[in-house]
Amino acid sequence: MKITTSAAVAAPREHVFSALNDRGVLRRCIPGCEELTDVDEETFAVKLKLGVAGIKGKYAGTATRQDLLPPESFTFALDGKGKTGFVRGTAAVRIETQGEASRIDCEADVQIGGAIAAVGSRLIGAVARKLTRDFFRELADAIGAPPDVSDQNEIDALPDPGRDERLE
């Protein structure tokens, strides 16, 4: 599943970049983050209580920073699992200067499996979007900038029966 999210934060991109690479900021911004511990320079481990409304699950996982190009871009390799499923994949982050502010483009390509994939597929895309939105809202707040989370999100999610090439 690919999830593309954009957000604008009223702060210079160096500022945004360092915030996104600051584990204290991440701990605060990652939705449902209960614990964030350092594994090494590039990798940290998280424990999350994640979900929406009553549908919540506990997840544990790691994020490893790759392809660091300050202050422009970097990628997180994500690997997490819980009792109701797992998430694996990458999230590529690009930060561009737009006048006084910065525009953050995040392109996540993740594989979701387990019960949440089998019985929750109709909601997964929307949940993912909500969580990324929450993340950027918190980020803006952490940086001290007014939030301006764009709604120009795109979900190119599940095999679409109308467009599955096997079926055409």
Partner: protein, 279 residues
Amino acid sequence: MYPAPFEYLRPATIDEAIALLVTHGEDAKILAGGHSLIPAMKLRLAQPRYIVDIGRIRGMSHIRETAGRIVVGAMATHDAIERSALLREKCPLLPETAGHIGDVQVRNKGTIGGSLAHADPAGDWPAAVLALDADIELAGPRGRRTVKADGFFVDLLTTATAPDEVLVEIRVPITSAKVAYEKTEQKASGFAIAGVAVVVEQGGVRVGVTGVAAKAYRAKAVERALAGQSAPTAEGIARAAALAAERVEALGDIHASPEYRLHLAEVNTARALRRAYGN
């Protein structure tokens, strides 16, 4: 199909229910009709530690007319709403919408309050209460408050209801018969791929859309396009309906792509408008 362990609590009054919610915080979950919560628990996607069953609280399933308004208790079942002679006469959108929900078994047990509080993005009730501009009454430790339907649906499965509040009642205006609910259902679940509720009133129209986006919404661009018209033309309706999904970020799944959902929002809006206006 075996839920995780939980403790079952059965308050006798709304105040008792609130007290339990205050005590147990986010570990508690209200059980109304149970038609979303129990399946999620059986799959262990939801594992609340406390279940607060409000099904035995008296006086929560009324359907009546009070002071020129229609009042529906949160625990009124979809079936009771569908069959209500009062609603058929004075607020026919509610019975019409109820008839689209699930199947007979679901309608017998499921409740309007439970459905609204769950705020499934494809539930049927959100479209209707938005189009009716309903007042939703919440009771909590700080007393009672009323939230307009328009501000009630916050996000996916998220409403303005605080964790320690109970949705107690829905109040809607008496309407004419110029209402309609048009729905395309997801074949497997019966949930809405695109459901559009329309209420025509003196000098205007309200349009609620469900199933298309992460939360139900008022199609205000459509409403503005038809404002002040009591008998819009077919072209006018078509032009207005084309705005039904304007700037909406649509959901996509194996049953319907975002593109198809947006298209159906327009089609069902046009159909509901034509029927409501008698056009």
